[in-house]
Amino acid sequence: MLEIKNLHAEIENEGREILRGLDLTVKAGEVHAIMGPNGAGKSTLSHVLAGKPGYRVTEGSATLDGVDILDMDPSARAAAGVFLAFQYPVEIPGVANMTFLKAALNAQRKTRGESEILTPDFMRLVRTEAGKLKIGQDMLKRPVNVGFSGGEKKRNEILQMAILQPKLCILDETDSGLDIDALKVVSEGVNALRSPDRAFIVITHYQRLLDHIRPDVVHVLSKGRIVKTGGPELALELEAKGYADFAEAAA
């Protein structure tokens, strides 16, 4: 589904290279965890895939189902099926959560040449998905993420994912700022979305999240490249030994 080849990317204004020849293949139905020390390029990878301004891809490619996504603007990537769950979801004063969800869903459908969702169908969809994530009516009526707690913001990200039904979900440190209970709710939400035609990239520092969202493949990212790939046991190994070995291996 996702095929990244020799990806090089730098921060636009500084010219500092963060991703240095990254290769990654993620097949439909798989969950890949990406771990690594601070500054390895984990968040940059998620930003570059989603199309966040401020980065420049200097070499390499990233395709989703054979289509190059790096030339698309962020909204086109989203319509193509890319979804980034933000580490720090953004507060948008004045735009009600419900209005936002509907605008996003309909915009994606329009880009894909589908008709707009009927309001009753939309309401039913939101009610069902919000219920699973313990998101109440007040959170849907309030402006997007404004005044939400850390846990509420992350649950709201998963709600968007559930409604937009992307092909490729990238979770950028979704566990940061979550207590144990919130982590469980969020993980259950993610697990409910696992399906044979959807893939996940789970970026995290900690093994803890992977106890809840079981990965098929674990990668270690260091200095802008994947330096080791293994099964779930690799995450346990990292938890025990830390990243010291890999930092040197990449150097």
Binding site: K52, A78, V95
Partner: protein
């Protein structure tokens, strides 16, 4: 220095005494000629004195502090002829669709500054509510009780726009709500234009008695491509414990000039909820001078949407004269192309106004590299136990917010639309009347959709 064309020495202009220090501008000379021609025939007293105050200073310019950002000497190239009363056919032709129709307001219609009883509908306003033409009242020998009371001897009297309005007004309405009476439906004051290039000048007096309630929306419209100067002076007297909602929305044509002044006095325990929405005109200035008694609640908000090369100015002076009053001033503008928005606001708290709670905010979002926003919020406090604050921001559309929305599939232009609407929503969502709020919200969306076209 604004350039001053050499005055033509012909006709009645010959008699004008030109001070040695400067040449008068074309617009000033045209105003003087017009006053000589029409001033004497207009009803009411005090016009000569008002015009003398105007000629004493002339059009205000950048070295006059209150007009520093809106230099009328350079922005007003001409002053069109004062408008004659339009015929019924002309007036009728000026009436287009009313965006507030769904709210079923009673209606006062003025065309080119003249009240048109045939086009107005003053039914259903309820017991104790009266509306009358000021011109008709005075022309038939009657007097309008209380008119000018908020202006005479006050600082506002020396404002050049107030002086011009007092010299040139042709008509307007006096609206009275008796003590304890409530307007049974909203009243719309519709200012329309026949499409002739004229100066239309109106004044209104709105008096809401103690405990009375009124809901008034003013709308201003004129066609594109015509140089129309629209002046307005409104006195609003809010009695003890009275509650007033006033919405002033203008969508003048792209060559129009709109210069409005609202003078308000708020008696003890009264409430005013005021909103100004600026969607049109090449040059607009809205001045609000409010004076508050004790335990008053004043909310005043503005939404300014400007593009092209237009210039819109909101100027606000709020005087807290009595204790325990609350005032909230929130003015927002969206500025596109090469347009300019100006906000000047001053809250002044007199010695007696202890426990004043005042908060003023002015925020602008710039939608193009050449757009400009100027803000000058001021506090002037003479009481020692008050809570007052002000803040001003000028920014572009937040890239972080934009990326977040786009990352969910919303295209760039739709993202900007949502964010501009949300930015101004803080002003328009607070309009109490649901129908009027909805109509204005739709007009704002229409403005946003018209960007870049």
């Amino acid at each position: 220095m604004p350039t001053s064309p050499k005055p033509r020495r012909e006709g009645d202009v010959m008699n004008v005494i030109i001070p040695k220090e400067r040449r008068k501008t074309k617009a000033e000379l045209e105003l003087e000629a017009a006053f000589d021609r029409v001033g004497a025939a207009l009803p009411g007293a005090g016009r000569e004195a008002a015009f003398a105050r105007f000629t004493g200073t002339g059009l205000p310019h950048r070295r006059i502090e209150a007009y520093h950002f809106t230099d009328l000497r350079s922005l007003l190239a001409t002053a069109p002829e004062p408008a004659a009363r339009p015929s019924l056919a002309e007036a009728t032709a000026a009436v287009g669709a009313d965006v507030f129709a769904a709210s079923e307001p009673a209606r006062v219609v003025l065309v080119d500054g003249w009240f048109s009883p045939k086009l107005s509908d003053l039914t259903g306003l309820g017991e104790g509510v009266t509306v009358a033409s000021i011109c008709d009242t005075m022309s038939s020998g009657g007097s309008v009780e209380g008119i000018g009371r908020l202006i005479g001897g006050r600082a506002v009297e020396s404002d050049p726009l107030v002086a011009l309005a007092l010299a040139f007004w042709t008509d307007g309405v006096v609206i009275r709500v008796a003590p304890g009476a409530t307007m049974a439906r909203p009243l719309e004051i519709r200012h329309l234009a026949s499409g002739k290039p004229v100066t239309a000048c109106v004044r209104h007096l709105i008096e809401v008695g103690a405990g009375g309630k009124a809901e008034i929306v003013e709308s201003h419209e004129s066609p594109d491509g015509v140089v129309i100067h629209a002046h307005e002076l409104t006195e609003l007297v809010v009695g003890e414990g009275a509650e007033v909602t006033l919405i002033d929305r203008q969508r003048e044509g792209d060559e129009a000039v709109r210069l409005s002044t609202l003078v308000v006095s708020l008696a003890d325990r009264s409430k005013l909820d005021h909103t100004v929405v600026t969607l049109g005109a090449r040059l607009a200035r809205t001045q609000v001078f409010a004076r508050l008694g004790a335990e008053v609640d004043l909310q005043t908000r503005g939404a300014t949407l400007v593009r092209g090369r237009t210039h819109a100015d909101a100027t606000l002076v709020v005087e807290h004269a009595g204790p325990n009053s609350v005032s909230r001033e929130l003015y927002k503008s969206a500025v596109d192309d090469e347009a300019t928005s100006v906000f000047q606001g001053r809250i002044s708290v007199e010695r007696a106004a202890q426990k004043t709670d005042g908060r003023m905010g002015a925020h602008a979002v710039l939608l193009s590299d050449r757009a400009e926003a100027k803000a000058k919020p001021e506090l002037e406090i003479f009481a020692d136990d008050v809570a007052c604050a002000h803040g001003a921001t000028v920014s572009e559309i937040d890239e972080t917010l934009k990326f977040y929305l786009m990352s969910r599939g919303i295209p760039a232009d739709e993202t900007e639309r949502l964010l501009i609407h949300a930015f101004l929503g803080e002003v328009t969502d607070a309009i109490p009347h649901e129908g009027i709020r909805g109509a204005i919200s739709a007009e704002i969306d229409g403005w946003i959709d018209g960007r870049g076209k």
